[in-house]
Amino acid sequence: MTQLKYRIKAFFGKPSNILLVVFLVTLVVLSLIPLITMLSNMFTIHLGTEKKLYRMEVGSYTLKHFQRLFAGDDWSRVNFWTPLINSFIVACGSGVLGIVIGGTVAWFITRSDLKCKSFISSVFVFPYMMPAWTLALFWTNMFQNSKVGGGNIGMVESVFGICMPEWFVYGIFPMIIVIGLHYSPFAYLLIGGILKNMDATLEESATILKASRWTIIKRITVPIVLPAILSTFLLIFSSGFSSYTVPVFLGSAVKMFTLSTKMRALIQAGYQGQGYIIAFISIVLGCLILGINQWFTGKRKSFTTVTGKSGQVSLVKLRGANWPLSVIMIIFTVFFAIVPLVSFALESIIKQPGNYALSNMTLDFWVGTEGSTYETGMISGILLNPTMWSALGRQVLLALVVAMIVGTSGMLIGYACVQRRGTKLSQAVESLAFFPYLMPAMSFGTIYLAVATSQNFKFLYGTFAILVLVASVKFLPFASRSGVNSMLQIAPEIEESAIIFGTPWVTRMTRILFPIQKSSILSGYLLPVMSVMREVALFTLLVPYARYLLTTMLFSFNETGYSQYGSAVTLLIIVVIIIINNLTNKLTGASFDKGIGG
C-alpha cells in the first residue's frame, strides 16, 4: 500500500504528468463525450418533427433515421445522395484546380525568371488569409444577373450587359472555382516549399545524362513532388467536402445542396437524427482521408531531402514569354485578391444593386441613421448600429478568450508531451488534441448542438460559454502541434541545467523555455484569433440568434437579401483580419508566404 502511495506521489511529482492527466480528462470530456452523445442521437427520436412523423416517444431508440436517409427513394435522393455526389464533385474539382493553379504559380516563382515575383507571391497568398466565403460573395457580386437566382443585377451585367448562364453563377462550377482558388495558395506554399528546397542537383544530374527539360519534369520533378501534391490534394479535398459557407452563398439561391448545407437544413427542419448521421459520415470521411494521407507519406518511396550545395538553381529562361506571362499572372492575382475588396466597398455603398451611377450611391449602409436606411431591418448603418457593434465585440471577445485558452493549452500540451515523449499517456493526449482536426467544422458544431440540447447540459444551450468550448477544442490541434514542434527544438539540457540550480517549475517555464520559443508561442496565441474571426460553420448552429456574432450576422444578411450590409460587414471582417495578420507579422516575424517568394 505504501509502495503504491509512493509511486502515485512520485508520478504526480512531475509537473508534466499532472498536465498530461489534466488534459487527458479535459479532452476526453470535451471531444469524446460529445461524439458519443451524437452517436446516440443518431438512434433516438427528437422532439418536434420526428416525434410527430414517427409517432414515437421522444428519446426512444430507432433505426428509422437510417432508413429514411438511405432508403433510395426520392427523399433519400434529395436529402442524401445528391448532396453527397455534389460534395464529392466539388471536393475533387477544387482539389485538382487548387493544385493546378498553386502548382503552376509555385513552379513559375521558384523555377523561372518571371518578373515581379515577390509582388505576385505576396498578392497570390492573400485570398488564403481571407475567409473562403469572401470569394464566393465576390463571385455573386460579379456575375449574378436578372435571369438567374434572386434576380439581383451584378457588376458584369450592369457594366457589359452580359447575363452569365445559371451554371456559371450558381452551383458546382463556381463552387469549384471559389474553393479551388481559396486553397490554391495552400498548394502553392506546400509545393513551392518543396520545389525551393529540392536539391537542384537532382535535376542537373538528369540534364547531364541528356534528358530533355520535359523528360526531367515528367520523370524527376513531378514524381519527387508527387507525395506532396497528393497530400495537398487530400487536404483540399477534405476542406472542400466539408465547406459550408461557400455552398451557402453559391448554392442556396438555386436550391443546390452539398452534404454540409444539407446537414444544417435537416437539423433546422427538425430532422436531427438524419443530420447527425450526415455529420458522422463526414467525420468518418475526415479520418479516412487522414489515414490515406499518412499511409501514403509513410511509403518506402517517400524520402528525406538530402541537402547539399543547392540554391544554385538555374532558373528557366522564359525569354519572349516572360513579360506576357508576368502580366497575366499579375492580372490574375490582382483580380482574385484586390478586386474583391474594391467590389465589396462598391457594393456596400449602392442603393439599388446593379446600378453603379454616382447618384445611386450612399453611405447610409455604413453611417446612415434611422429613417434613411431603406427598410432593411436595421435601425442604422452598420458603423452606428449597436447590434453590429455588440456582434463585433462578442466575436472579438470570443477570439481573445479562445486564443488565451488554445494558446496556453497548446504550449502546455507541447511541453508535457515532449517531456514524457514515448509514453502511452503522452501519445493519448497528443492524438486526442489532434482529433478535432478530423472533424468538419459543421459536424463539430452539430456534435456540440447534440450535447447542448440533451437533458444534462441544457444550461449550455445558446450561451457564450458553449461557443468558447467548441472553438477552443476545434482550434486546439494546430496549437498543440506547434507547441510540440517548438518544444522539440529545445534540447532537454536547457531545462535540466536550470533544474540543477534548483529553479522551480514555473520559473523554468516563464524565464527559460517560453522566452526561447517566444515567436512560435506567440503565433500559437494569434492564429486562433484569426480562425475565430472568420469562422461561421462552427457557430451557426450554436448561436442563440443569428445576429449574435459578426460572421453569423453576415450570413443572415445574405439569407435575407441585404447584400449591401453583407458586403459592408465582409469588408469589416477582412480589415480586422488584415490588422491581426500584420500584428502577427510584426510580433513574430511569421508571414504567410515566407520562405518562398521571389
Binding site: 542537383t201 544530374s205 538528369a206 545524362l209 514524381p223 519527387i224 518511396k301 524520402f303 547539399g308
Partner: protein, 370 residues
Amino acid sequence: MPEIILENVTKRFEKFVAVENLNMKIEDRGFVTLLGPSGCGKTTTLRMIAGLETPTSGRILIDDEPVFDSKKGVNLPPNKRDIGFLFQNYALWPHMTVYDNISFGLEMLKWDKAKIRKRVDELLALLRIEQFEKRYPAELSGGQQQRVAIARTLAPSPRVLFMDEPLSNLDAKLRQEMRAELKRLHSDTNSTFVYVTHDQLEAMTLSTRVCLMDTGVLQQYDPPLTVYGKPANKFVASFVGNPTMNFIPAELDQVGSKTVTFHMLGKKVTFTSDDQPEKCGKKLLLGVRPEFLPIHKDGPIEGKIYSTLPTGMETTVQVKCGDTMMTGVVFGSVDFPIDSPVNLDIVGDSLVLFDAETGKAVAYGRAEIE
C-alpha cells in the same frame, strides 16, 4: 581526344568575382584536382566547364570544340558536352531504385533494354553493389549511395568525368577506401577526371595535376609533387602539406648569381639555388617543411620544447626558438619533456625562400647556417 582548355574565363555574381581570368589546360586522361579553401571558386569553375553555370566572359574548349565562347555567343548545354558529373551529395533520385537510377542515362541515349541490362549489371559488379539493385536510395548507407552515384555517372561512359567533393560526406575510413577505388577507376575507364576538393591530402594522392585556387585566382597549376616541393607562393606552401610549412622570418643581406645571404634567428645563412633568384625586398621568409627540421644535438638552432604530439608512426614536435614557433616531424615515437632545451638543424635541398611582402617564392634550394 578530349582536352579541356579554359581561356580567360571569368565569372561574376553581381559584384562578387567568383573566378577571375582563369587559364588552364587539362590534358587528355589526366586526373586534375581543383584545390582550394571553401569559397575560392573551384566548384564554380567545375560547373562552368560542365555547362551548369554560364561564365561572364572567356572561352572554354572541350576536345578542340568551343563549348562556350562569350565573344561568338556559343554556349552548349551540359547534355551536349558528353560529360559525367558526380555531385557532392550524390543527387540520387529518391523515387527510383538503384537500377532505375543507373539506367536512366542509358534510356536517354535510347539504348535497347537488353543492352541497358548488360551495362547496368557491369557497373553493379564493378562497384560491388549487385545486391542493392532493387533498393531505394533512402535504404542505402552513405558509402553505398556514393557507389550508386558513381555507377550512374559512369553508365554512359562519358569522356570527361567531373566530381564535386564526392568524398566529403563519407567517414574517414570509407573516404580512404573510396580514394583508392577512384584512382583505380581512373585507369580502368580511360577517361579524363576533373575533381574538386578542399582536402589537400586528396589532391596530393589522387591527381596527376593540381590546380590550386584562392579567391577566384589561380595560384599554381602543377603536378602534386611540384606543388609540394616548389610552391609558387606562400599561400600554396601553407595550404599544401600537413603539418604546415614553417616560415622563419629573415633579413636580406645580399643577392648573388645563385645565392642569397640573409640573417635569421640571429644567425647568418647562405641560401644556394640552382637558378637565378627572383627580385625581392628586404624582408624574407625561409620556408622549411617539418621533415627538414630534425632535432639534432649538434644543430645550430637552439630552442625549447613547446609540445610533442606522438601518433605512433611519427611524432610532431613543436619547438620555440626565441619568438618563432617551429614544427618538426620525427619518425617513430619519441617523447620530450615540455620546456626541455633542444637543438634543431635545417637540412635538405627543398627549402623555399619567400618575399615576406608579396609572398612570392624567390628561390628554391638549400641553406647553410653558420
